[in-house]
Symmetry: C2
Subunit: 452 residues, 2 copies
């Protein structure tokens, strides 16, 4: 950690004012933004709990090394916020939630009954160029099933993903999940093309980027790695084929022995039996960028014609826990980001109006002696709160009633309660519905009774 | 930001396994811990909303200078996690939520109708020695009223604080709010003792620490600052007096002109009129450590005889926004930490049992052909979820029923649903209540009907 001289900053202070902007690429959530963010979080949480997933959490600072191990070189070398603490420990602000999750499971491996179905909502940081649907800071839902090596765990993850998307109002017209399996890629590169081990990882990473580069540049890079024209052609055929067309590049016999191939076939049988096939499609071009992916991989794509892109993805990562010791804990799951989801929802006009509903605004009579009006307003406010109602009490003394009503209008409360001279004398309240603009004076007693 | 060599880490990886512990002083929340934390967050959120407060949020990374300005030298010089990003910007992980809150208000000062009643729940980091009720990482509720310079805003903050404590089950026997006003301290040091400006701040900070040092060391330090014995004696009398005894150190005439004194008198009138006086007490020894406190200050104390300590505090900070420009925005509020609150609740046995309630566990028959049992289990699970029920489906194939039931028992689900041979044939389900251990077989139709 750097030492900084506070006096230097203090001098700076007296000369000029500080910026009111948040750190570049990070977001302030004003109340209206927060309502949207909470709508996303609440929906995530609700659906995960419907599937029996349990919530957990861990610190945003982690030892640097848990990311160096398996997260992938682009994030670790270029995008990590990392530093040393005063004790010389190398720390990183987490760029993703998976390694910390696995760390927690390793810590209590023997005490936790398997399978674990866990979810978490937390923020991550990556030092990258801010752009639409992407910032340096973003929140993610991470949901995984641990302790089940069968494709049933993957199947339930797909159920969960589809249920979450439906809970936001999305339909099969709007999104599609493309899936493949890393073991198919491995089979192609190792058993068919017989590439050397040191070339396999970078070839796979290049294949992951195929859609972002031209055919020419793709071929040039692979040539650079030592692949010949025939090999590059086979890779292109592999990437663009269907499940049936896989045998064009991988001999049928190898396919039949391939666990990835068998997994995908069994999954599609389940999808058909459970009315999910319309959401899912095999696509060998889905590869994913994490080094820890070691089986099924998938990405959810926006079908919006003006913005056809990957919203989030997931994978098998059975061996990641190995960085913490000799554990056997199969793992599968996904991480869904708030940034891209928000753009998806906006693009399909799925963001609901999140106005204040069933909220009360209690005025304060502008001229008051001995706190008579004040105490009456406070009392009705507390009575409403005791009934579970949300109440904004105007408390600033000597404020014109019009000003108070203008404020209530602007803030969109559903109901205004006025206690004036007559109301105080007669133990009544005047209740104004701001939607209908209807106003009525009634006894406090009957007003309270009507609430129930 | 430091550059790190991933290859070096990779080598480390192959030699030894990584630690499964979280970063020192920071917490992992396993599902059972998370239920407690969510109980705290949910209670905070619920009560703040009852008072019409709106939720907001901002990034955990802030430009370093917004803390250097006013947060207080101990935190800034010794406890800040700070570093430079790749662009050379000096950043800090926030140690508290107030400066960032004020930054947001300054940013949209002209667009936001006043008063604003805002709350936020977020995590902070301070590099300090981990101890009971204190870690390097902690979550806080920050709640403030902006735009009301009268003591009515402070009054409502006290209402809110007391309502939150009551929502957790706390009574007047368990906690007490001690309050004072910085303007009384200023009057004593400036007008009575006539100290030089450069001595006032450090004398005030020493007074804040009075309860943590001996009388001897307190006197020695103040002597070092240049105070004489008579002055030190007056400070001791001031710190230990009641509201009535203030005139022993500050002449009555000065007191009558003092806005702090008048504020406190008016507040206690309101407390008495609104049945709150039993929770509040004037205590001139309450001073607070932030440099931005500039009026009313208060701390909530645990009355537990084995652990009488401050749980959290709050203050007026009308001038803090001045670091961002020429704004006029009176401000008052508090920040309540999860760590100390948790210790308080544990100490008074106020933590509720947070078991799973109304949760279902659906078994999977161990021998299955063509996914018949599987699809039946999946269907009943989805039906329950569509009714809003939380359902854990056992999906791992070929698992003995006893093992599944043992798991359900351990995880404390309220109800187990079994579909075996007979159930599949007859379209029934066997429903076992894990609390009562009662078991019943009924038609799926009537089971679903009973749920409603």
């Amino acid at each position: 950690m750097e030492t900084t001289n506070p006096i230097c900053y203090h001098q700076h202070m007296t000369n000029s004012k500080l910026s009111t902007q948040p750190y570049k690429g990070a977001r302030d959530f004003y109340p209206e933004d927060m309502r949207v963010e909470n709508y996303i979080f609440d929906t995530w949480r609700k659906v995960c709990k419907l599937y029996g997933f349990e919530e957990y959490s861990f610190p945003i600072l982690e030892p640097l090394e848990i990311f160096s191990a398996k997260t992938g070189e682009e994030i670790v070398n270029n995008q990590l916020f990392s530093f040393e603490d005063k004790g010389g420990r190398k720390l990183a602000i987490r760029p993703e939630l998976t390694p910390g999750t696995v760390r927690m499971l390793a810590q209590k491996y023997n005490a936790l009954p398997q399978p674990m179905k866990w979810f978490m909502i937390g923020s991550n940081w990556r030092y990258e160029k801010p752009q639409l649907g992407r910032g340096r800071e973003f929140n993610q839902l991470e949901a995984n099933i641990f302790g089940d090596k069968t494709e049933m765990a993957d199947f339930e993850i797909f159920q969960l993903v589809i249920s979450i998307m439906k809970a936001f109002g999305a339909t099969e017209k709007m999104f599609e999940i493309k899936l493949s399996d890393r073991r198919l890629v491995s089979c192609l590169l190792t058993d068919v093309l017989k590439l050397k081990p040191e070339i396999i990882d970078k070839t796979r990473r290049m294949m992951d980027k195929r859609s972002k580069v031209s055919a020419e540049n793709f071929a040039l890079t692979l040539k650079d790695y030592g692949l010949d024209t025939k090999q590059i052609e086979l890779i292109e055929i592999f990437l663009s084929g269907t499940l049936e067309e896989l045998s064009k590049t991988i001999p049928q016999k190898l396919l039949e022995q391939n666990e990835g191939y068998q997994t995908i076939k069994r999954l599609f049988t389940l999808f058909k039996q459970n009315n999910m096939a319309q959401y899912l499609r095999f696509d060998p071009a889905v590869i994913r960028g994490f080094d820890y992916s070691d089986g099924l991989v998938y990405e959810l794509f926006d079908k919006n014609p003006i913005n056809k892109r990957s919203i989030f993805g997931g994978e098998r990562f059975d061996k990641l826990i190995g960085i913490f010791g000799d554990f056997d804990l199969p793992a599968t799951g996904f991480a869904m980001g708030d940034y891209t989801l928000y753009e998806f929802l906006k693009g399909w006009n799925l963001l609901p109006k999140l106005n204040q509903t069933d909220t009360y605004f209690v005025t304060l009579w502008p001229t008051d002696e001995d706190n008579k009006f004040l105490n009456a307003s406070l009392e009705i406010s507390q009575t409403l709160r005791n009934k579970g109602k949300e109440v904004f009490s105007w408390l600033t003394p000597n404020t014109k009633l019009e000003k108070q009503l203008r404020y209530a209008d602007k803030k969109n409360y559903s109901c205004v309660i006025i206690i004036g001279q007559d109301e105080l004398k007669n133990s009544t309240v005047t209740v104004k519905n701001l939607q209908s603009q209807k106003q009525e004076t009634k006894s406090i007693e009957s007003f309270i009774k009507e609430l129930e």
